[in-house]
Symmetry: none
Subunit: 221 residues, 4 copies
DNA sequence: TATGAATGAGGGTTCATTCAT
DNA sequence: TATGAATGAACCCTCATTCAT
């Protein structure tokens, strides 16, 4: 039921000719290497190094992704699809609503969802249909998780998807300058604390108003 | 009582000759400009641009700070000193322990303490005495705030300074790629949620163990 | 009488096996596309783009022409053959000798003979028999035009084929940086002025000495 | 009377602070090297090589000229100024009007005025005041030469500055791909022939209409 | 054979840092 | 001392050419 096909986001519009097998493999390797590098060094990671890590020549990377933006685009798509997949799976598998939410958050952290951060930044993918679709899918899946918990009286009423996703992204964001991967044991503590803050009943009034992902995107300059 | 002198961290080891007044003013301008730039553009902000903002020539920057690291160093010192100052002030001024903690967190966010984040990363300031001193002062001040709340039964028992400071840094960290300053209204929501999670009684068990700032530094590779 | 076969220069040494019809068509398409691109963008036009214009894959281009030089070679052959063909035709069709010369010059300009210019440069086609043959045919045809005008007392005595061909190439050469095709209305004015200068009687003494095409080639380093 | 100051075009708007002597020398060296390279290899000459020839580092070139366009700009200004200077000098020194025109043309050729060609290409320096000024000065000087010859009945009536300048540029333009400097002996022949064509009385009717430099610029796409 | 894909070398540009005034 | 200028290393990207299907 949850096959790889369910996870994979269709990266581009349907192609005229089926791409060659090795080219596809390369493309996947590039995205994987890029995700690693983005997680470790941020979205400014040298493309040449990404290519090296993917085990290909630098120009091959440019054949697949005409510029850095296109690569970031695909990485974001990929990570969003993974996260959405997990959310959709967990909502079905985990009977307790708030536990489901907790499980999703920690799972997303392990998936390095912090690499999504560039997505939130200015003018990213304005109106790109695949990005919009991916965002919508993810939002819907997380909203389902949250709504269930809300209905069960386990989640405070004054929070929305945007609140969760941004905090999740920020708290799992890697420290710059080096592959600071061993922060994980701290990260999960912070997430747990944040989740405790999300639980009903609310312990304080929140400033501002609940945010959707779209709100966030619009907030960017 | 809380004069500027109280805030300022002594930037370097004591000098043989007292520096000229304009040199001091330049140094301060550079640090201020650097803090702004780091907040807006990240720790990779071009040094030439920092110099331009400070209204001085680029080489003058190098006279004051032999390399980028030294500049980051002083910015961190400065921000830590500001944050410590606020913590010390608030612990005195605000009678309610948990309210004091909340006030500190939001104040630190407004002070752009997120700019500290890059500095937490790899091997930063190993064994530099002034950094150690600044860290210690900040830790002590925040610990005072937390201990008071803990004593009052308002703060859960299983968290330490490191947990607060890292989450605070991450949640207030600017988004990459642009000076995304208009995230503030969201940021304060996330901080509030996190603080709710810190409140006693604990709503869940935390993984790992409570962390001091020193622990964090050691975690970096 | 003047069929396509008369125009076409035999592109390579005779092949062992007659090439397939589609291969021949591809070859022709490539040369045509290359000529267009050279005229529009200069001799540095990207080969991939030439292939795209020819409607074939890039590797196919390399199957026909092992490197850029080989392609330039054939384009030069082609253009020379066209020009020679026109000269041969005009010398027969136009009764007035100097009018014939004028007609040839303007016709060659419309044929974009200026694209030949890059090919006159350094060490081009040293001793390639087909190039030598093409050059000889062109030279003979133009010389025929000139000699007739000379005999009629319409062309000054102190000019030779090289003088005409180089000036013709230079004056019709496209401006760099863009396919500046709308210079044509100026180009024909300049050619006309140059032709007026060629008319007998000579209005001035020329420096240097009359040049053949071969002289020009030898002049190249 | 004709000091160096008369020749030099003021390259930029007046600077706030007087530039350092060595920087000025470097700037001049760069322009000189660029002119040479443009003449030899065309306007696509590698900037790194230009820097090498000027005896400076590549980044220094970028300090003086933010991009290739800016460098071409200054080279064109320089060459235009030199040519204008010569025209202004010759019109005074040479009593015979048409001889003056001939002298100017050959002198300009020796000055490598063919490097001006990029100036004519698309969208070059639209509305830059210094370029416009340079162009105007040159045009006025050449027009003076031509008008004098026209008044004396030595120059045909149906030609204008643009006709002369473009033909002059094209005929003296270096062959691409190599420093084909030894074409000179041919170049002067072609110029001489072209000048003969300019002499009154006109030997033929010209197509199109007389062109100013401004017409040419507008003709570019 | 024809092709899409891969590649390495090279050019343009930026930036941290050093030099010379 | 403060500064503008210089520098080389590193990055992004393109393109001629080769490889593998």
């Amino acid at each position: 039921m949850t096959t790889a096909a369910t996870i994979a986001a269709e990266p581009e519009a349907r192609r005229a000719t089926r791409p060659r097998a090795d080219a596809l493999r390369n493309r996947e390797r590039i995205v994987a290497a890029a995700r690693e590098m983005f997680v470790e060094y941020g979205a400014d990671a040298p493309l040449d190094e990404i290519a090296r890590r993917a085990g290909i020549g630098n120009a091959t990377l440019y054949r697949h992704f005409p510029d850095r933006h296109a690569l970031v685009h695909d990485v974001v798509l990929f990570v969003m699809a993974r996260a959405a997949h997990h959310a959709e799976r967990i909502v079905v598998e985990e009977p307790d609503p708030f536990t489901a939410l907790r499980t999703f958050v920690h799972t997303a952290a392990d998936e390095r969802i912090g690499a999504l951060c560039p997505m939130l930044s200015s003018a990213f993918g304005r109106g790109r249909p695949d990005l919009d679709a991916g965002r919508e899918r993810l939002e819907k899946a997380v909203e389902a998780l949250m709504e269930r918990a809300r209905q069960a009286g386990q989640l405070r009423e004054d929070v929305a998807v945007g609140d969760l996703m941004v905090a999740l992204s920020q708290l799992t964001r890697p420290l710059p300058g080096t592959g600071c991967l061993n922060m994980d044991r701290f990260t999960h503590r912070h997430l747990q604390l944040f989740l405790d803050g999300l639980e009903a009943p609310a312990r304080s009034a929140l400033p501002g108003s609940a945010a959707t992902l779209e709100d966030l995107r619009r907030a960017a300059p």
